[in-house]
């Protein structure tokens, strides 16, 4: 394993575990709002906020795991195309921040059934995630064939 690959793995391990901690904590916070019946979160008119914050929690945790899986993939399959790794790494890291952040910010301020402006982070974040996953997937395919 070359030095660059090891650095990428360490970076995604750090990112993945920290993100997992942050977004699991968000889950605990959301549960606490249920427990204490916080109207800001639970009132009948706050369906959008509830949905968006739940999505922030779920996507944050999921993408943390994806980043950890990416680090594990690099460790298990060091033959992955370096160019694909250079594309995937920033894409997965950025989407791991932007996607849950978009849901979170979209849920902080809502307009009735519409999320706040933060929700506009989600489409680019989704494209980054898609690009990152596609790069790894194709690299894995090529590596196997090679």
């Amino acid at each position: 394993m070359d030095t660059n690959a090891a650095a990428v793995i360490r970076r995604h391990v750090r990112f993945g575990w920290i993100a997992l901690l942050v977004f699991l904590s968000l889950g605990v916070f959301l549960e606490a709002m249920h427990g204490f019946k916080v109207g800001w979160y639970l009132n009948a008119g706050e369906e959008t906020r509830r949905l968006l914050l739940t999505l922030a929690h779920a996507h944050g945790v999921l993408l943390a795991l994806v980043n950890l899986a990416f680090a594990a993939t690099l460790a298990i399959a060091p033959e992955l195309d370096a160019r694909a790794v250079r594309i995937a790494s920033p894409c997965l890291a950025a989407s791991g921040i932007l996607l849950p952040a978009g849901f979170f910010l979209g849920g902080l301020v809502t307009y009735g059934g519409d999320p706040g402006l933060g929700v506009f982070l989600i489409p680019p974040a989704a494209l980054l995630l898609f690009a990152g996953v596609a790069a790894v997937a194709f690299a894995a395919l090529r590596a196997r064939r090679g």
Partner: protein, 646 residues
């Protein structure tokens, strides 16, 4: 070799194809999801009752819910929503668990058959010999109301979707079935209109959203459809189809969120000019005639929709419009009111006091537009009421739903938001001549007194005015002072109004000078006055201001009143007095039961310690009742038949 095969190996092509399919499928679903309205329950095939049919740009409250969850939730908690419901075990308040009832010689059996509700009964439409009345079984399909009471409609056999009214009413709070006629202020043995077209001609107008009546000219078969049962979002905001279409596009929505929110594709009553805003409520909470017969129930561009000028299609009945000075203002309205006042006094007195003030509930707009506050040009229903309480409103929705008042509008804040000079305690006391925190300093109690009757209770008048004894003498309508000071005479009130407010003192007869006004209304008054007097005798501020024990004989007397509704209100008020809470009394019970209840009340009153109140309440020096004068006043009772068309 094809280009794709050259640049991508087989597995990659499979993966690309899968991704392509996924993208196309996702895009297709996204497009499909924004183009399809959520379907209402399968309605078109229902032949038993009027159906919900989304036409003319109506989309239903379910569609509004997605973008306006807070507004939907508050509406959902309101009694507007449940004004008309498809009858199911979940929506009916009444007991349908194999209940057998007999009222006025007719038998009823109420039962559930799976998810259906059925009534078996002696045919209420039978006009032949009573001993031959057939037993019929009908499916109950719709209900009306859910707050105080609930009425039911059953399907009729044969073509068309005509309904008949079940001659039973379920009192929600008392959890009790009563005859339908006993839920209204009707003369004893009055013929009530149970005709099959009642719902499709009348109730549909205001107990549903955008009702339409369709009459087949050949067969004369009547059909009816509504946009939605109950008073739903589009009853006040108008058809929302254009609004929904425009706001599918986030480029339309987000500028509205970030700007002033004014969306020209929908009517928001809160943003209409004052008169138009109140008319949204007035489309139902008023007393009107159509300018052209039938236009209330026919789809046409002329038909009123929220935001329109209401009186373009309708005439709201105002006595003052008959005045010659108003002839040019609205000639059709002037002629109609002249005609009604000259030829239809009986009809008018079912809704109005003789001076034109509204006396039945549900006509608040008609009262309000006669108020000086309204004529100021800024006052609207929304000055005091809120149809969608804010998220931070501390009141539970169930409490708000009772009268849908805006926060703090249950007290003087409602008036001092404009009449600021009365905000301070000193100024208030100087004006009211009562302690600032007493009911006598409540703006509502003096300027919106309880002179309106409906749904078995007294309501506040929405014609804001000031009390005068002259109006009481002329119309019989209780004045605000004597709704609370029940032990005082009209002369006492006239003296105080003259000395404190400079109100001219009218000529008063002997009884009005030395007998308490409430005693006169109870003994001598007509049924409309008696029922209000009975309600006042159960009103906490009046009990506190007038002391209560002297009221018992009067309430007891009303327990056997010939009018069902008067008996009901008297029984309810009686039970609010200490020592009488557990009196066994059924207002629709037989004569023997009612006499037993009165005897029980008499025993308790005789045994109780009584405080001196004086001759105004016909009390002798020894504390007993002046039976001679009592009987004399009772013999003068106004026996005219009173029917209030709430």
């Amino acid at each position: 070799m094809p280009l794709l095969a050259r640049i991508a190996p087989t597995r990659a092509r499979v993966a690309l194809a899968a991704i392509g399919i996924w993208l196309v499928a996702t895009a297709g679903l996204a497009v499909a999801s924004v183009r399809v309205y959520p379907p209402l329950p399968a309605e078109r095939d229902n032949t038993e009752r009027p159906v919900q049919d989304l036409r003319q740009g109506y989309v239903s409250s379910i569609t509004c819910r997605g973008c306006h969850p807070q507004q939907y939730a508050t509406w959902h908690a309101s009694y507007h929503r449940t004004m008309t419901q498809v009858a199911t075990p979940e929506t009916v308040a009444g007991d349908f668990d194999d209940v057998d009832l007999t009222f006025h010689g007719l038998r009823y059996h109420l039962e559930k058959r799976g998810d259906e509700l059925w009534v078996g009964m002696d045919d209420p439409a039978w006009s032949g010999p009573p001993e031959l009345v057939p037993w019929i079984e009908r499916k109950v399909v719709l209900s009306t109301g859910s707050h105080h009471d609930q009425d039911y409609w059953y399907a009729t056999p044969g073509p068309g979707r005509e309904l008949r009214l079940l001659p039973l009413n379920f009192r929600v709070q008392e959890k009790k079935w009563v005859p339908f006629s006993a839920a209204f202020l009707l003369p004893p043995h009055a013929e009530f209109d149970y005709s099959p077209s009642k719902w499709t001609q009348t109730c549909i107008k205001c107990h549903s959203t955008y009702g339409e009546q369709i009459v087949d000219e050949l067969s004369e078969q009547v059909d009816a459809r509504v946009a939605e049962f109950g008073i739903a979002c589009e009853a006040c905001h108008g058809p929302a189809g254009e609004h929904v279409a425009a706001n599918r596009d986030p480029r339309h929505r987000y500028p509205l969120h970030l700007g002033d929110g004014d969306d020209a594709t929908i009517t928001n009553p809160a943003k209409l000019e004052a008169a138009r805003a109140s008319e949204v409520c007035g489309q139902c909470h008023g007393q009107w005639s159509e300018r052209e017969a039938g236009t209330d129930l026919v789809d046409s561009p002329e038909r009123y929709r929220p935001g329109d000028v209401l009186e373009k299609q309708r005439i709201y009945q105002q006595f003052a419009a008959a005045d010659p000075s108003r002839a040019q203002l609205d000639p059709q309205k002037h002629e109609l009111m002249q005609y009604l006042l000259e030829n239809e006094q009986d009809y008018l007195l079912r809704s109005f006091w003789s001076d034109g003030q509204v006396r039945i509930s549900g006509r608040e707009y008609t009262g309000m537009i006669e108020s000086p506050c309204y004529r100021g040009g800024e006052f609207t229903c929304l000055s005091c009421h809120s149809l969608h309480p804010a998220e931070n409103d501390p009141r539970p929705l169930k409490e708000w739903a009772n009268d849908q008042l805006a926060p703090r509008m249950d007290g003087n804040q409602a008036c001092v938001q404009c009449h600021e000079s009365f905000a301070g305690a000193a100024a208030l006391t100087a004006h009211t001549h009562h302690a600032p925190d007493s009911p006598g300093s409540s703006c509502y109690n003096c300027h919106m007194p309880w002179t309106v009757y409906g749904i078995m209770k007294a309501h506040r008048s929405h014609q804001i005015d000031s009390p005068t004894v002259a109006a009481t003498v002329a119309t019989g309508r209780p004045n605000a002072c004597n709704t609370c000071h029940l032990d005082k005479t009209l002369a006492w009130t006239a003296d105080h109004l003259a000395s404190d407010f400079g109100v001219a003192r009218p000529e008063l007869g002997a009884d009005e000078s030395d007998v308490a006004a409430s005693v006169l209304w109870t003994l001598r008054g007509d049924a409309g006055q008696r029922i209000l007097a009975a309600a006042y005798m159960g009103w906490e501020p009046a009990i506190a201001a007038s002391r209560s024990d002297w009221m018992i004989p009067y309430l007891s007397q009303l327990l056997s009143d010939p009018y069902d509704a008067v008996r009901f209100v008297a029984g309810r008020s009686l039970r609010l007095h200490p020592g009488y809470r557990d009196v066994a009394y059924d207002y629709v019970g037989d004569d023997a039961q009612i006499e037993a209840a009165q005897a029980d009340v008499a025993r308790r009153w005789t045994a109780a310690e009584r405080r001196p109140h004086g001759a105004a309440v016909l009390q002798r020096a020894d504390g007993g009742l002046d039976a001679e004068r009592y009987s004399h006043l009772l013999s003068q009772r106004d026996q005219r038949r009173v029917q209030l068309d709430e």
